[in-house]
């Protein structure tokens, strides 16, 4: 059913936005202690909590509303400076954000009630929060609802516009002016009204279409309809206004109840601009307020008998506050909006109407003009970013990928036909395709900073757990990475960060002994480097004790005793499955799971990880990942009958294989020794070596090697298609692609070859070194 589907989609949006808000909240809380003037941050955190509460109410997630309410009350005290920012308070609030996150995950999985485990957790958190509510002066229960519970007898003034005792059904009047961008932002006004039906009984509703512009100005995606609703409910006004928290900023939502003074109804009418007469008429008709009382509140001296319906629908009526004349009050049917036109022409209103006279009415319409102005302003802001379903984006990227292949194929055919003009136009098409490809990929790029900033929290919590003092320094946060990569790199980074904190950085005592500042520094850095993104996790701790690692590796049977390994190789041992140097198994890392998982994850992303070790001074873990997962610029080469593609950004140059190097594994490249790998022998390709061979010089992570091939076939764009699982153990191949002529080419995994070569070379070196000793 469509209603259900709609609610589901809305719920998904809600969860997503709530998570973002929670992230903001967490960031804010983490920053609190370090800020000189935290008020702004406190306000932001409060707003986040408040929005979550309101939106949860909209979806009837009572358990979230309940919990957030208490949290909000504490934040409210903080905001009113009744509480001081202390690390104790932050320590209490952070787990609350976590808890909300857990609740949101539950909601995302369709769990609209609270689970018993979470409820138990929540009880503990609530106890902690209440501690802060009951703090000084016994001002217990400072939350809005609590206040009402404490003082149910407080007069109508106290409850005005805020809510009242929630024990019986009251008649509320809702005046809803939705912001013009609501629809565009995925908020369907009717969905809110639908939800109101669950809070109580909608006894009257008028859809006002007065602001619908004429067809030529009608923007089908803007929201024009306004609603006046009479709701019979026992829910507190808070809950009812909370329904609209999602749109509160750009909309004008007013809820009035029986306890409100006539002056508040008068304010409501004054704020309506063009709609004033209609709203007034509706208020009176639905019995929200007595006509005479309203007239009096509007500052109209004595009910006169003249009728002003003729002015009601005229445009200037809105601009002129004096024209607040009554609309027709006689209604037929169920309050449908167009009934009023015939009614208008048929009978003079039985409710006396008179021109308004109060000067303050001008303020009313002025306010409303200001309000719509600010709505337009926020509209501009919204237009700059749009939310897109990730699958739609993926579909676009897929299509662009196919386009690239198809374009390459067309280009090939054109050049075969030797039709100059065709080649030129295809060249132009390809240029555009490239542009489209780049922009499409750009769409997926997000700054890595958001991922980094999550670690502020991790570092704070973990360093507290470990009794260490660690500062996190983030740089390169604006480096952009493919969104899919960002999502998948979070876990490996988490392990690295924890590992550095656990094993790398020493406790303050030890640090002081070693002449280091007591406070350790953990550094997260990111930058682009020749078609890769490099992410570094560095610490200024003790570095890796290579001797200990080697001993442990031998103990674990990972290395034969007596093997000679370079420091770099020893460092790589920590990525071996089942390896851990932790003398104590802490609950963070050191269980021997983690580092090998890190390596596996990184490798799965076609990336590599290496370690720069500075014994006694710290270490740097460097993850190198391809910028994007889908499309690369490739350089096509031929060996025998087979085609291979080398990622172009790893190619440095191409040279002919000098005859002198035919029998060796290295050559002289302008005075440098360049080792090379013969693809023919590497992949066991049959066939005679041609008389002339070429060398493609590739570089990866600062190491250059040559790839010996038969033919150089030029650059082209290619979409990486992953190899099937059967081939996942094949080394040196990163994927496959389809060439313009329909043939399949294998994509060379340069990092793997370079490493493979390095291993062999390293082994050879040690072999010679060993024999010398």
């Amino acid at each position: 059913m469509s209603l259900e589907k709609e609610m589901k989609a809305a719920l998904a949006t809600f969860v997503e936005e709530a998570r973002e808000l929670l992230q903001d909240m967490e960031d804010g809380l983490l920053g609190l202690e370090h800020e000189e003037d935290p008020l702004e941050t406190v306000n932001a955190v409060f707003r986040a909590a408040h929005t979550i509460k309101g939106s949860s109410g909209l979806f009837g997630l009572e358990h979230i509303v309940r919990f957030t309410h208490v949290l909000e009350s504490v934040l409210d005290r903080l905001r009113n400076e009744e509480l001081q920012v202390t690390s104790e308070l932050v320590g209490c609030l952070l787990p609350c954000a976590d808890h909300l996150n857990a609740l949101m995950s539950g909601v995302a999985h369709g769990q609209l009630e609270e689970s018993p485990e979470l409820a138990a957790q929540e009880a503990g958190l609530l106890a902690g929060l209440r501690g802060f509510l009951e703090g000084d002066g016994g001002r217990a229960g400072d939350g809005p609802d609590d206040r009402q519970a404490d003082a149910p007898g407080s007069g109508p003034e106290a409850a005005a516009g805020r809510g009242g005792p929630a024990d019986r059904r009251r008649r509320l009047h809702l005046s809803l002016r939705f912001g013009s961008n609501c629809l565009r932002n995925g908020m369907d006004p009717l969905a809110f009204i639908r939800y109101l039906n669950t809070l109580g009984e909608v006894v009257a509703l008028s859809t006002l279409d007065d602001l619908l512009p004429p067809a030529e100005e009608f923007d089908p995606e803007a929201s024009y309809l306004d609603f006046e609703i009479t709701l019979l409910t026992d829910a507190p006004i808070e809950t009812v206004t909370g329904v609209f928290d999602f749109v509160a900023e750009e909309s004008q939502i007013r809820v009035l109840g029986p306890q409100d003074q006539p002056s508040q109804y008068a304010d409501l009418v004054r704020a309506q601009g063009e709609l004033a007469p209609r709203v007034r008429e509706i208020l009176v008709r639905t019995g929200a307020i007595d006509a005479a009382a309203l007239a009096q509140a509007l500052g109209e001296p004595v009910p006169a008998t003249e009728s002003g319906p003729a002015t009601a629908a005229q445009p200037e009526a809105g601009r002129q506050p004096e024209a607040c004349g009554e609309g027709p009050a006689e209604r037929s049917g169920n309050g449908s909006l167009l009934e009023r036109i015939p009614a208008q022409t048929r009978t003079p209103s039985p409710v006396p109407a008179q021109p308004g006279s109060g000067g303050d009415q001008g303020t009313g319409s002025g306010e409303s003009a200001g309000g719509s102005g600010s709505a337009a302003g926020s509209g501009n802001r919204d237009a700059r970013t749009i939310r897109i379903d990730a699958t739609r984006l993926d579909r676009l990227i897929d299509a662009v990928g196919e386009l690239v292949i198809a374009g390459a194929s067309a280009g090939l055919r054109a050049s075969l036909m030797r039709d100059e003009s065709l080649v030129t136009s295809i060249g132009e098409v390809m240029r555009l395709v490239e542009e489209v490809r780049d922009s499409a990929l750009q769409l997926r790029m997000v700054p890595i900073g958001t991922t980094f900033s999550r670690f502020q929290r991790v570092v704070r919590d973990v360093s507290a757990d470990l009794g260490k003092d660690i500062a996190l320094v983030i740089s390169g946060g604006d480096t952009e990475v493919d969104k899919a990569l960002v999502e998948q790199i979070g876990d490996p980074l988490m392990h690295l960060v924890r590992n550095s904190m656990d094993h790398g950085i020493e406790s303050p005592g030890v640090r002081l002994e070693r002449g280091k500042p007591a406070r350790g520094t953990l550094r997260l850095n990111a930058f682009h480097d020749s078609g890769s993104i490099v992410i570094e996790v560095s610490d200024d701790g003790s570095g890796i004790d290579t001797q200990a690692v080697l001993t442990k590796a031998i103990e674990r049977g990972l290395v034969e005793p007596g093997t000679v390994l370079s420091d770099q190789e020893i460092c790589q041992l920590i990525f071996e499955p089942g390896f851990s140097t932790a003398e104590q198994v802490s609950n963070l890392s050191g269980r021997g799971v983690g580092m090998d998982v890190v390596k596996r994850n990184v490798t799965a992303l076609r990336g590599t990880i290496d370690i720069e070790n500075r014994p006694g001074r710290g270490s740097t873990m460097r993850i190198r990942l391809p910028l994007t997962l889908a499309i690369i610029d490739g350089f096509q080469v031929g060996v025998g009958g087979a085609s291979f593609v080398v990622p172009l950004d790893q190619v440095i140059e191409c040279v002919e294989l000098p005859p002198s190097a035919h029998a060796r594994d290295c050559m002289d490249l302008r005075g440098e020794v360049l080792p090379f790998i013969r693809l023919r022998s590497q992949f066991g390709i049959a066939g005679e070596r041609p008389r002339r061979e070429n060398v493609v010089v590739v570089e990866y992570a600062g190491m250059k090697i040559g790839l010996v091939v038969d033919a150089l076939m030029g650059e082209f764009q290619t979409v990486i298609k992953p190899l099937s699982r059967v081939f996942e153990h094949v080394q040196g191949i990163g994927g496959s692609t389809i060439l313009g002529n329909g043939d399949v080419a294998l994509i060379i995994d340069v990092p793997m070859l370079v490493r493979h070569y390095g291993d062999r070379q390293g082994a050879a070196q040690f072999a010679t070194a060993g024999s010398r000793e």
């Binding site: 469509s2 209603l3 709609e6 609501c182 629809l183 565009r184 369907d188 006004p189 009717l190 969905a191 009204i193 639908r194 039906n197 009257a204 509703l205 008028s206 859809t207 279409d209 007065d210 602001l211 619908l212 512009p213 004429p214 067809a215 009608f218 089908p220 995606e221 929201s223 024009y224 309809l225 609603f227 063009e274 629908a313 005229q314 445009p315 049917g333 169920n334 309050g335 449908s336 909006l337 167009l338 009934e339 036109i341 015939p342 022409t345």
Partner: protein, 106 residues
């Protein structure tokens, strides 16, 4: 009133997703049928209706009214009826609804 009125069938969703196209379709329909006085919107195959759709219908109906013509919603589907009921617009947009005179709101 019994002469066969030109009819436009609305199909699929009538929501923010399709509002731009539907606006063009509705206005095109009004233009095409400029000589006729009574128009019908066949809404039996509308699968989804939201606020954007509702205001489109209201806009079209008002445009028609401005030309002294009537626009009826014919055999609305369940989703349409549900939404019209929520918005209390049932009597406005149903074919049985009383004829509308011109509306001047801008």
């Amino acid at each position: 009133m019994n002469a066969p009125a030109p009819s436009l069938a609305l199909v699929g969703e009538l929501t923010i997703q399709t509002a731009a196209e539907e606006k063009a379709a509705l206005l095109g329909f009004l233009e095409l049928t400029a000589d006729e006085s009574d128009l019908e919107l066949e809404a039996g195959s509308v699968t989804e209706l939201d606020t954007a759709g509702v205001q489109l219908l209201l806009m079209a109906r008002r445009e028609a009214a401005a030309q002294g013509r009537r626009l009826h919603l014919v055999s609305p589907s369940r989703p349409v009826l549900d939404v019209l009921a929520i918005a209390h617009l049932t009597t406005d947009l149903e074919p049985s609804g009383s004829p509308r005179s011109q509306e001047a709101g801008q």
